[in-house]
């Protein structure tokens, strides 16, 4: 309780109130993220509905194995984050550090795979927007109207998602340093829990991106 008392800001009356406020603030922030992404989903839906055959065809260029692997990697990271919250609540901080490091590893794998996906596309002239000029075997046939729209949407959605992943990465590094320095206890661990919420949302977005872009 003493640690909790040290973190209580003067404008709150109780730690519980402070924790609830922080958590509600985080949920509201996540809602703004949902609506931010909703714009991209709307653009996807409109163009998919207008040109279903083009979108179905173009999505074959994306490798579902890599996408699927990334899905599993992200799910695993969500799992480790959930576990880290479990252990921080029990005050077992060594386990928390290990779990957060595993999470970081997952995040790194995700970004490395994403890197190879992107560069693989760039190498064959698959760029967002006017730079779209597919060339090379198996790519040239994708030089059709509205395929650029598909890939623009693909790059924007995964790109903005990727930015969120990078932000998450930074947050995890920051959390690890704080856990190591003994900032958290079973009485106060708000940053771990809030970062967890953020990370699960990043995961949820990807859960939708994967089938929409790679599978159907």
């Amino acid at each position: 309780m003493s640690q909790a008392a040290g973190t209580l800001k003067h404008y709150f009356v109780t730690s519980e109130q402070q924790f609830d406020a922080a958590k509600m603030g985080m949920w509201l922030f996540l809602v703004t993220e949902i609506l931010l992404f909703s714009g991209m989903f709307v653009a996807y839906a409109v163009y998919r509905a207008w040109h279903p055959e083009v979108f179905a065809h173009a999505s074959e260029l994306l490798d579902w194995r890599l996408g699927g692997l990334n899905t599993l990697v992200l799910l695993a990271s969500s799992f480790t984050v959930a576990l880290s919250i479990h252990f921080v609540q029990k005050g077992q901080n060594r386990k928390v550090v290990v779990l957060l490091l595993i999470t970081l590893l997952c995040v790194a794998i995700f970004m490395v795979i994403k890197y190879f996906e992107y560069t693989g596309k760039f190498a064959h002239g698959i760029f967002p927007g006017a730079g779209y000029a597919p060339h090379g075997e198996a790519y040239a046939e994708y030089d059709i109207p509205f395929a650029p729209q598909f890939f623009s949407i693909y790059f924007i959605m995964t790109g903005i998602h990727g930015v969120h992943v990078l932000v998450g990465m930074g947050l995890f590094v920051w959390l690890v340093t704080r856990v190591v320095r003994g900032h958290f206890s079973s009485a106060w661990y708000t940053p771990v829990e809030l970062t967890g919420l953020y990370w699960h949302l990043v995961d949820i977005i990807w859960i939708f991106l994967f089938p929409l872009l790679y599978l159907i």
Binding site: H10, Y11, F12, V13, Q17, D20, A21, M24, G25, L28, F29, V31, T32, E33, I34, L35, L36, F37, S38, G39, M40, V42, A43, V46, Y47, F127, P128, G129, A130, G131, P145, F146, P148, Q149, S152, I153, I156, I160
Partner: protein, 545 residues
């Protein structure tokens, strides 16, 4: 200034720029927004000056397009949207619910800096890159084909949007989690209800303008072909994106003003605000309904006929909660003892102007009528009656009302009343004439209307009248600035509760609130307008006001 007051608590520029006190942050917003309002106002005067006579008078068409674009962007994104929540929401809301501060004070300060960063981006783009002439709506393909300055302005709107999001988020959590003991939901002042409803809209709608600006930015930078018809994109889709935010944004502008008016009606009628629950919940209803009507901006843009019909019908629904408010305000004054101080003059002005603005909104929401009125001065007049006659008049009224609490000083009441009359006359002369012009067919956004003179010779006279009105309006506003500055340095010291109001910021703080608002957390035992239970509170202050 007594010792513990938030103004005297610490001194120097740094103590202001690094403050996390919600009251000081409110003042930071006030200073910035006053500057932007001055800029937007000067641009408006320039626009009206060009239109004093048919034909080209002062500016060429390109300059004219740039002027009204900047006027729109500045007034919408840098003045009206952040105005009431930023200034009065920050200053008043936490005190009204008996909190020591907002839930996230540092985020609150960050919001102000983000807002300023957005403004700086807009100005930098304007000065260094070039001028934008797309109108404030950035419609594609105007915007995707315009100069690169569009990139700067869209970034500015994107950044400023985050300030709005964080302010809204902060207020929602504050209202949920920071209320004093006894401050139940049905004891919240109606201003708090309005800001709360506004905050919901800010949080839910603003991210969409964010992604819209990102997509527009990329459309221009990379030609992604989502919005640009030359690349297979759909310009009407851009309008969906834009208005999904920008119609709810109208409620970000008007709802807080409605909250101010509710408080003013109660205080200056010395009467329990009639239909308290209805007014409170109608704010929330407007916030939600406001999300369902955006397509009424696109009746002639080629959207599907079914959409137009749906959006038109839903638009009419907004009239219901709005009507509930208007009738309840009138009912509050009925049999109340109405005290015509300057803030109340603005409340009455709001009632008159906003009713006109709202009803003409229903008119342009009618499909068949809108086909004729779309892009005419009728629409210009309509939204100025709502945005200026509603939102800004509400802000000005609110600033007069809380001025003594913010500064600890009184302004000259006579000067206040004269300025209010000037504003009222100037405003109506400016914009009522535009209803006539628009309904007779004068299109908006033309710098030269000589072609109109054959069919509409009265256009010259009406435009001249409108321009003269804008000068009178400007004179009224400048007069407010002058007596406000005078009051700041020479004004009589105010008592703690000069209006005999009943909400916590008047009853439980000194003439100027302390740095942490209250000596001890108030225990709330009555509603915000229970004047009959609060005789002890304002009776004693009457003599020195």
């Amino acid at each position: 200034m007594h010792e513990g007051s938030y103004l005297g608590a610490s001194r120097g520029l740094k103590s202001w720029l690094l403050t996390t006190d919600h009251k000081r942050i409110g003042i930071l917003y006030a200073v910035a927004i006053a500057a932007f309002f001055l800029l937007g106002g000067i641009l408006a005067i320039l626009v009206r000056t060009e239109l004093t006579a048919p034909g080209e008078t002062v500016f060429g068409q390109d300059q004219y397009n740039q002027l009204f674009t900047l006027h729109g962007v500045v007034m919408v994104f840098l003045v009206i949207i952040p105005g009431i929540p930023g200034i009065l929401g920050n200053f008043v809301l936490p005190i009204q619910i008996g909190a020591k501060d907002v839930a996230f004070p540092r985020l609150n300060l960050a919001s102000w800096y983000i807002f300023m960063a957005g403004a700086v981006l807009a100005v930098l783009g304007w000065l260094l890159v070039g001028k934008v002439d797309t109108g404030w709506t950035f419609y594609t393909p105007y915007s995707s084909g315009a100069s690169n300055a569009v990139l700067w302005l869209t970034s500015a709107v994107f950044v400023a949007g985050f300030a709005s999001i964080f302010t809204g988020l902060n207020f929602i959590v504050t209202v949920h989690k920071m209320r004093a003991p006894g401050m139940t939901w049905n004891r919240l002042p109606l201003f708090v209800w309005a800001i709360y409803a506004t905050a919901i809209v800010q949080v839910l709608a603003t991210p969409v303008i964010g992604i819209t600006m990102v997509l527009l930015f990329l459309e221009k930078l990379l030609q992604i072909g989502i919005f640009d018809p030359a690349l297979g994109g759909d310009p009407v889709l851009f309008q969906h994106f834009f208005w999904f935010y920008s119609h709810p944004a109208v409620y970000i502008m008007i709802l807080p003003a409605m909250g101010i008016i509710s408080d003013l009606m109660g205080t200056f009628s010395r009467q329990q605000v009639s239909g308290y629950t209805f007014i409170a919940l109608s704010s929330v209803a407007i916030a939600f309904l406001g999300f369902l009507v955006w397509g009424h901006h696109m009746f002639v843009a080629g959207q599907s006929a079914l959409s137009s019909i749906i959006f038109s019908m839903l638009t009419f629904l907004i009239g219901i909660p709005t009507g509930i408010k208007v009738f309840n305000w009138v009912a509050t004054m009925y049999k109340g003892s109405v005290w015509l101080q300057t803030p109340m003059l603005y409340a009455l002005m709001f009632l008159f102007l906003f009713t006109i603005g709202g009803l003409t909104g229903i008119m342009v929401g009618v499909l068949a009528v809108d086909v004729h009125l779309h892009d005419t001065y009728f629409v210009v007049a309509h939204f100025h009656y709502v945005m200026m006659g509603g939102a800004l008049i509400g802000l000005i009224g609110g600033l007069h009302y809380w001025w003594p609490k913010i500064t600890g000083r009184l302004y000259n009441e006579t000067a206040g009343r004269i300025a209010a009359v000037l504003v009222f006359i100037g405003f109506n002369l400016t914009f009522f004439t535009q209803f006539i012009l628009g309904s007779r067919g004068m299109p908006r956004r033309y710098h030269d209307y000589s072609a109109l003179m054959d069919v509409m010779p009265e256009a010259a006279m009406l435009n001249l009248a409108s321009s003269l009105g804008s000068y009178i309006l400007a004179a009224g506003l400048v007069m407010i600035l002058v007596y406000a500055l005078h009051s700041l340095f020479r004004g009589k010291l105010a008592s703690a509760n000069p209006w005999g109001a009943c909400t916590l910021e008047w009853t439980h703080t000194g003439p100027v609130p302390d740095a942490h608002n209250f000596h001890e957390t108030p225990l709330v035992t009555r509603g915000p307008y229970d004047f009959h239970l609060a005789d002890d509170v304002f009776g004693s202050d009457e003599e020195d006001s």
